[in-house]
């Protein structure tokens, strides 16, 4: 059965009485305000109502009535609410009494292209300044640490050591073996054309130790640990835990950032070393299966090609990457706003910042090492 509401107008002298009937609720069909307004013909001074046959009403009825009330106010007509249900009368009063005004206009969210470019640029400058100032804060923290004044929990530090090291091993292992496999595959096809298959060991060995070992471990840690740091610190911002530390006289950077940063700085070279070895192993699998190179041949070739210097380059990079990952995570976490969505943004932003910094710094370091013939 279709539910519907109707209205009839009855004119008594200068008063217009509206008789509402039926159901005026969500889901029923009834005349719109425009259609009702068409009933207001001739000269009238007041509008009154009769709702004896009104069966059911809800907020939609209120909307029609508040439109009529507005219309009455605009045309200086008397709005006689007596005939309406008591609840409707009260709600109408409540809806029209709105003491609070917005203190300010929400800023215009539809920016023009130029405005967007401008605000992004100024944001970029601000962000660079934040990065520099956070670097300074961390340096001061470390100075305090070495002079024995910084405090953080030993258990915190041990927990992060475990979290950044042993707990990350399985995923780092899987990825680095596969990276070794990929390097070997790419090289195998090319080297076969020159009959220089044995140099696959050089390619994988150098590729892993100088570049890929540290780089892949760092990218995994950015997604795994950097994001976690940002989310942890962000949540602590939301819960006012960071404020609490500050008011208790504990420096939040000392207490929260130092254990995380130190743990990752220590663990990152170890992870990179582990990734180097497994990557070389992955390369060997391919060399053995597709190029038929024996283990001894591969081992000797690798030993000859990869010197301690190459490991040194990789480990140095790993330390830098470790710093960048922990730095981005902690920076975005400490910058985090006070809402739930801000925590999500902080985690995302931490990963993006870390990966950008890793790749840029890697490029810079590679060029420098090349110039210095290291």
């Amino acid at each position: 059965m279709e539910r519907r509401g109707t209205v009839e107008a009855e004119k008594k002298e200068s008063d217009l009485c509206l008789h509402f009937k039926g159901q005026w609720i969500i889901g029923s069909a009834f005349p719109t305000f425009i259609e009702i307004k068409a009933l207001f013909s001739g000269s009238i001074d007041s509008i009154s109502f009769d709702t004896k046959e009104l069966q059911d009403w809800d907020s939609r009825f209120l909307i029609v009535l508040s439109d009529i009330k507005n219309h009455a106010t605009l045309n200086t007509l008397l709005f006689v609410a007596d005939g309406l249900p008591a609840g409707v009368q009260r709600l109408l009063t409540l809806a029209s009494a709105s003491p609070e005004r917005p203190p300010f206009k929400p800023e215009d969210r539809n920016q023009s292209f130029l405005e967007t470019v401008g605000s992004k640029t100024s944001h970029l400058i601000e962000d660079s300044r934040d990065i520099l100032s956070f670097t300074g804060t961390i340096t001061l923290s470390y100075l305090r640490l070495f002079s024995g004044k910084a405090q953080f929990l030993r258990s915190d530090f041990l927990y992060f050591l475990e979290e950044c090291g042993p707990m990350a091993l399985p995923i780092v292992s899987l990825i680095s073996v596969l990276v070794g496999v990929i390097l070997a595959f790419v090289g195998a096809v090319q080297l076969q054309m020159f009959g220089a298959e044995i140099y696959i060991a050089n390619l994988v060995g150098l590729g892993m130790t100088r570049e890929m070992g540290a780089m892949m471990a760092a990218i995994i840690m950015a997604g795994r640990t950097g994001a976690a740091f940002a989310a942890q610190l962000g949540t602590m911002q939301v819960n006012e835990e960071v404020d609490a530390l500050q008011t208790m006289g504990i420096d939040p950077t000392d207490f929260l950032v130092l254990p995380r940063l130190s743990a990752l700085l220590l663990m990152m070279p170890l992870l990179a070393l582990w990734a180097d070895l497994l990557g070389i192993g992955g390369g060997f699998i391919i060399a053995r299966l597709t190029l038929d190179i024996s283990m001894v041949e591969y081992y000797n070739q690798t030993i000859a090609a990869v010197t301690l210097r190459h490991f040194g380059v990789g480990l140095f990079k790993a330390i830098i990457f470790g710093y960048l990952v922990a730095f981005s995570g902690c920076l975005r976490g400490m910058q985090c706003g006070r809402s739930a969505s801000a925590v999500g943004n902080a985690a995302t932003s931490a990963v993006v910042t870390a990966i950008v910094l890793i790749v840029v710094s890697d490029a810079v370091m590679t060029v420098i090492f090349n110039i210095l013939h290291i």
Binding site: D56, D58, I63, A86, G87, R90, L94, E100, P106, S341
Partner: protein, 254 residues
């Protein structure tokens, strides 16, 4: 929304609430009449909010039943349950406004989900609801841009978006100053009277309990069950239970 004689709206029978093997409350029996302002009170940690979570379909009872009119809430199918929930409005303790949406979008969400109204009709309803709670003109604001009291009222606007029969409130005055809390109480009363809704409210705010409660139960954390029931004023006058008396007098005369 027409006046009808009192009738049981929610009936809770032998309800036991438990987290795994930890029993929070057992053997709860009470009835909420149509038009009541029903207060669930008790000390912190006694399971008030958990009881609310059972009634609004967020947690399944370990034992016992909850009936909305004649429908057994937890035995009903998913679809029937969502039909029942459509007639309920809920104001959460921290307002629970979605932070990525403006106030208008927050209030429009249940309307968009549950009705087939056209966008301009929804916009009309949203602006009416915001006017009712005194937030006219705040449509385009995000929850992070307004104060705690305003968030509560915006949450209330969302709760009444679908003209619910039953309104659930979890600690409505928590975190509000006495004046804002009082205004919110007045608003709740006003909405109850004009919308004809039934109200279930979890609170330990004494002023609110006495000002608006028409019936109540008292949950006890030690004996894990309800130890008192009745209108708060009458309870204060008649109770012989030491804990209830202490609670209702802020630990005063025993």
């Amino acid at each position: 929304m027409k006046n009808t004689p009192p009738q049981p709206l929610i009936t809770v029978t032998n309800l036991t609430m438990a987290y795994d093997s930890f029993v929070l409350q057992r053997d709860l029996n009470f009835t909420i009449q149509r038009g009541d302002i029903f207060v669930i009170m008790g000390n912190s940690g006694c399971g008030k909010s958990t009881l609310l979570r059972h009634m609004i379909g967020l947690k399944e009872p370990a034992a016992g039943t909850i009936h909305f009119r004649d429908a057994d809430f937890w035995a009903a199918s998913e679809g029937q349950r969502s039909q029942i929930m459509r007639r309920c409005g809920i104001l959460y303790q921290s307002s629970a406004l979605l932070s990525s949406m403006t106030l208008a979008e927050n209030v429009a969400l249940p309307l968009r989900q549950h009705t087939t109204l056209a966008p301009d009709e929804i916009a009309d309803l949203v602006s009416l609801k915001l006017r009712l709670v005194g937030l006219a003109g705040f449509d385009g604001f995000y929850p992070s841009e307004i104060s705690g009291g305003m968030k509560k009222r915006a949450g209330l606007a969302r709760a009444i978006a679908l003209d619910p029969e039953i309104l659930f409130f979890d600690e409505p005055s928590a975190g509000l100053d006495p004046i804002s809390a009082r205004l919110l109480d007045d608003l709740i009363l006003e909405l109850r009277d004009s919308l004809g809704a039934t109200i279930v409210i979890v609170t330990h705010e004494l002023a609110s309990i006495f000002a608006i409660g028409s019936d109540s139960i008292f949950l006890d954390a030690d004996s894990h069950t309800m130890i008192a029931q009745g209108a708060p004023q009458a309870l204060l006058a008649s109770t012989t239970n030491r804990k209830v008396k202490q609670f209702l007098t802020r630990g005063g005369s025993v």
